[in-house]
Symmetry: C2
Subunit: 432 residues, 2 copies
């Protein structure tokens, strides 16, 4: 038996604790697979005396990054501290000293992916990041390797557990957003400041990473169009279900002749689509390739041990590459520079809820305004009366977003249209 | 740009044609990823003059395996001919000459896996087989690599598209097995001789492969317990749905303290389980690991291009290993020799349909016989009257199969029990 491969952990929060626990729990089978044990030599923490989620030898802890980054006996650095500040600095230092890096840091990859990969390439080191998207769900490596023979057409994902939990509850229990959010916070499914989750920022970071791999062109986080779930009402969720749709926060990345689109927003998804039945905190990533057709990867998108599963899978890969003197096997795959469409250029279907004056001729006026902009309507349902007002729910055929926005602007200025209450895109094909 | 890496294809049927088409269709992106083109140098066929599903230069075709196996300029052999006869011989020859082998041949792996891996190891070659299970769905590599840090608890799969298509139709349209089978045959979803699919043999081969990887112990095809779907009636499917279950042909591999169980049979699956909504010819493999929790991999389990997607992914991996002088990275992972449970030793729940004489005291007698063997009943429903007979549908709590079998044997000999119409296992947790 060869001696151990030493690891340096940067961070000992939720994910870091899971990594420590998992490496201990499955030591025997991991050693068996690698033919060599993995050993956590040092762990960088901010405060030596803070209580920990996992039992660790206090002698392993350090507040000095140099005791890890400067140790030639630590060939693999595991970055699980998060953030784009010191984490970036430490990863760049580690790579520049030829160390392989395993990271779960989506924020960093979605902003500084190119810089990090360039550093890994320059020093022949590995940069592995399976844990950055979808927690424990294997998706990065399947996309980069197993599906490498495909031209990927689209990636559609439910990649934020907090919002999926909230939407599942709103749908099942007919409750309002703010009410369910509060419950999610008390259960620990939503953070005290839930902005990054509910505004779609977290999902946008993950979509930047997935789209970059899927289409071979670098997409960064600020380029991803996003809308959050804060404005969804339980009315819309109910109407959608009556029409055969679930409402999900979707990340969508698609390529056609006109370019790439990458966006995160609430969407109606047909109930018979595999993504529609992904509930609670579960995540799923639906990938369509020209050869494989439709595939989906499902599982827990967050949590200590699920995320540690992905991190440890990467550590084993990095260790194997070290053993075989074969690091940097697959580095950045952004070979192309493809144009990104503005949101107005996308073509999809729209669910619209309008509150209008209930008077003969109003529907004809509205249909006329849509018609002038080539927005054709697939269905129009008058849902309920609100005094002398009526609530109209419309679903359009596939149409360019720019045209819908123009039509809605005109409609919004009409005296008979009291409110444009909801505009939600419809994705994933026909209902039923 | 480096010169091409030559491939030798053994077989040009459905999968082989898909491989030829896909390598042509996505030549540019594959070359970009590898930094070197892939080139099909020769294709072994049985008959040079047969019409082909894909256009190929006739000069590539040969009926002489030695022109491929003996060509030192062909480092990668792609076996897509199927069967366990000459395919085995050719693969062993290829490996013994140090060539890497990509195969879609589940029959071969499920019977001769050890022999093939030993040959690959002995000659430092790769043996890659992602396409052998689940068609285009990435499952072998995710299981071997991404989830390598987990102790896998169970694998449950819908891994035969033909039977899933038949069961979906039976369920949706209330039609009988034989009727739907005929339709499936006319649509090309079932073969003229459908035995291997409907008896569960095909699924058993795939489960042998998955179980071997999941638990690190060699399971061969004959060791897998199997029952087919031919005896399922639409009554059972309807009753099951009323109780909140779908009926699926499941492959199940599970490990606990007592050993391994690997089995293929129809099963009731709660409608809220991710596997329940896998319809038509789609496949899905549900994997539970101690760290990752529940994950699922979904997609097309067969077909020319989906299967070619997996084959080409493996070809790219094999080519990369050649470029990096790093073959045999991950070979056989059957490190252990774990005991396999006999079917009588498994513990699960059972759906039972009995036809009994409708007379006071009969139910008490039946319950008594179950009770004596510690089979406790979770629910008893009297479904319909058939003259002076009654149809009883029972679901048991979790119980040892041996006890259920003993109870049923006693029941079968009772004059008041006219028929033990159905015995179907219940898997995947509670309904609703």
């Amino acid at each position: 038996m060869l001696g151990p491969i030493n690891l340096g952990l940067l961070g000992l929060g939720t994910v870091g604790s899971g990594v420590v626990r998992l490496l201990e729990q499955n030591k025997a089978i991991i050693t068996q697979k690698l033919g060599q044990p993995l050993n956590i030599k040092r762990i960088l923490v901010r405060d030596l005396n803070r209580p920990r989620q996992v039992a660790v030898d206090p002698a392993l802890l350090t507040t000095d990054p140099e005791t890890i980054l400067g140790d030639p006996d630590i060939p693999i650095i595991v970055e699980v501290m998060g953030g784009t500040g010191t984490a970036r600095e430490y990863i760049l230092q580690a790579l520049s000293r030829g160390k392989s890096v395993v990271t779960a840091n989506k924020d960093l990859l979605a902003l500084y992916g190119k810089e990090l990969f360039d550093a890994a390439d320059a020093h022949g080191a590995d940069l592995l990041f399976e844990a950055s998207v979808g927690g424990g769900i294997p998706i990065i490596r399947p996309l980069k390797e197993c599906l490498a023979g495909n031209r990927i057409r689209q990636v559609m994902g439910i990649i934020n557990g907090t919002t999926n939990y909230i939407l599942t509850k709103m749908s099942r229990e007919g409750r309002d957003f703010n009410d369910v959010l509060k419950e999610a916070q008390s259960l620990g499914y939503a953070e005290a400041d839930p902005t990054s989750d509910i505004e779609g920022d977290d999902a946008a970071r993950k979509m930047a990473i997935l789209a970059s791999i899927a289409f071979g062109t670098r997409i960064t986080y600020p380029e991803v169009y996003r809308e959050g779930i804060g404005r969804l009402s339980s009315h819309d969720i109910n109407y959608a279900r009556d029409m055969g749709y679930a409402v999900k926060l979707l990340g969508i990345a698609r390529e056609d002749e006109d370019g790439i689109e990458v966006r995160v927003h609430p969407a109606l998804v047909p109930l018979n689509h595999p993504l529609a039945s992904v509930s609670d905190v579960f995540n799923a990533i639906f990938v369509e390739g020209d050869a494989v057709g439709e595939t989906m990867f499902y599982g827990r998108g967050a949590g200590s041990l699920p995320t540690a599963s992905a991190v440890v899978g990467d550590i084993i890969e990095g260790a194997r590459n070290l053993q075989h003197h074969d690091r940097g096997r697959i580095s950045c795959t952004c070979f192309y520079d493809k144009p990104l469409k503005p949101i107005g250029a996308i073509i999809t279907k729209y669910y619209l809820r309008l509150v209008v004056v209930d008077r003969p001729g109003v529907l004809a006026t509205i249909a006329g305004i849509f018609g002038e902009r080539e927005v054709s309507l697939a269905s129009v349902i008058q849902e309920r009366m609100l005094g002398d007002l009526a609530e109209l729910v419309l679903i359009t055929h596939r149409v360019r977003e720019k045209n819908v926005r123009e039509a809605l602007e005109v409609l919004g200025s009409l005296p008979v249209v009291k409110e444009i209450a909801s505009v939600i895109r419809v994705e994933g094909g026909e209902a039923r």
